[in-house]
Amino acid sequence: MGRKILLVTTDQQRYDTLGCNGGILARTPVADRLAEQGIRYERAVPQSVVCMPSRSTILTGQHPATHGVWMNGVPLPADAPSFAELLRTAGYRTALVGKSHFEPFFDPFMRFPDNALSARGTTPAGGSHRGFEHMELATHGAQGLLHYSRWLRSEHPEAVSMFYPTVDRELRVNAAGGGDTGAPQVQANPVPREWYHTDWVADRTIAWLESLDAGEDWFCWMSFPDPHHPWDPPQSEMTRIDWRHVPLPDGFPESRLQRETIIDAKPRHWRLWYEGSLVSNYEAPAEWVPASLTADQVREVNARNAVECELIDEALGRVLGAVSARGWADDLDVIFTTDHGEFQGDFGLLFKGPYHVDALMRLPLIWRPAPSRRIPPAVVDSPVGLIDVAPTICEVAGLEPPGWMQGQALPTGVGAGPERVLTAWDSELFGVAVHLRTITRDGWVCTTYLPGTVHDGREGELYDLADDPLQQVNLWDDPARRSIRDDLVTDLLDAQPPSRRPRPDLEAPV
């Protein structure tokens, strides 16, 4: 029997949305069981907190500066390396089902291969694209050029208008509110569950698995678009959780004064976004003012998010059932993670942006090695990065991680792992430039700001993760922490990865 590898990613999912990580809203027994049988990482950190750079890091095993996708809207260069290509070359059957997002979605000229493929079929031109011989793609709803939206328009055209329109008439991320509380990116969606993209991704994954011969090695990246906004899961499923009974997160102080006091101790773009005078990145709705967020809106968003997480868990369970039915269960490695987090009310904010705190930076990551390998279960506390996923998969496949990978295989027990994990933010959009460099090391998260149009390069953030798990106390200017701050910044700047030259252009909003 050959080796089978399933990489499961979600989109914009927080660490604390899984039961095994202490989550109390969503029931996630499938992921919890994988964690029980495998290795659960307590501090998995992305190298970018937005989709395209982070997904490109997962695929290449490189930092954003090196693979070149320095912000959303920059396509992953055609010559970027891919661990999936290594597997394909080694004889693996390879597939990506769901959200890829290595290339922009806004593409009226159909220049990008993912979009062009979706119009043509599921086999890329030349037999593979970025190492995948089979691609069936989806994003957050019925809009767009990808396989799922084409399928929906073709098979269930009446469902297209049921979904929340992700962009507004200005082609910006939509700020329109809905549901019971008027929260942004929320809508009651009457779509039947079996037509929703979560189940579609599982269905298409199962169909591909069923097309394989029993003895083949295979790798499948199953990539769910949820629980990324819009928060419009099938309304039939909303009976699972009554938002009125959802507790407010610890990171959402109910007192507005308290929220603003915390934000005012951080670099100024926090406050500017909060009060609606600066939106530095395309990913946040341009017309939404975070200061208007109510406690009930946080409750409703979190209820909807939790339902989406439950649907993903159930879909994953179906796929694992299909794997078992093929007799492959004992040889299956599963890695479950996401690309970045989501505020979900922390600090009075939703969505994401240039904010390097746990809401966006602490991710779910579970590796359940194939039972036949008899690797004992563990919980790893030391920080690891999404950059470590590619070398891990190489190792699972029995391939030596190549020199172009900048991470290292995930540790399987206590006491191992990388010394430091780096994260970067760069955005330059409509005259606003913001640049952050962050290190996670020794229980600290330290961010330094490079000069841009909002910062002069002297700003920073320093958090003690043990004493301040919610990152509400910025110690950057604390004289007592000056020594550790200087040490972390020196290490951070010394460890910066090489940059791709010339820097690829921004080619689309997202």
């Binding site: 220049r111 979009n115 200005e170 409509f430 921004l506």
Partner: protein, 134 residues
């Protein structure tokens, strides 16, 4: 708040004389040769229709086609765009090379980035095409 209107520019330096580059850029019927994703072009006076690889027909009005300044300007009119003006300039750098600039001004702002983003790839294609022919 993000602006409703934006101006986004891309440029490329090409190791060929400005007149050579202008002979291609200044001919509105030849845009499909160097702009990836444009599959078909028809020109009728100052009206041009391009059809993208997505099957989307785009109606354009040619505003300026000035061989002396080597400037080409056009406006797109589609329901998704309230206002638009794209400007291509070919600057003679005096050493047998030239600089080609492609600026898109549009409302809504997102469209300026969508057009200029595609234009950036087009300028790279233009350079490859012209330099390899040299």
């Amino acid at each position: 708040m993000t602006p409703r209107r934006a101006s986004v520019r891309r440029e490329v330096r090409i190791a060929r004389p400005a007149d050579v580059v202008w002979s291609l850029v200044g001919d509105p019927a030849r845009v499909a040769e160097w702009f990836p994703g444009i599959e078909k072009v028809t020109v009728d006076g100052d009206s041009r229709t391009v059809t993208t690889a997505a099957g989307l027909p785009l109606q354009e009005q040619i505003v300026t086609n000035d061989p002396l300044q080597r400037r080409f300007q056009y406006r797109l009119s589609t329901p998704a765009i309230r206002d638009h003006l794209s400007t291509l300039d070919v600057f003679d750098l005096g050493d047998g090379t030239c600089l080609v600039s492609y600026a898109a001004d549009a409302e809504p702002a997102t469209m300026a980035l969508v057009i200029a983003g595609a234009a950036g790839a087009a300028l790279q294609q233009l350079r490859s095409l012209v330099e390899s022919a040299g």
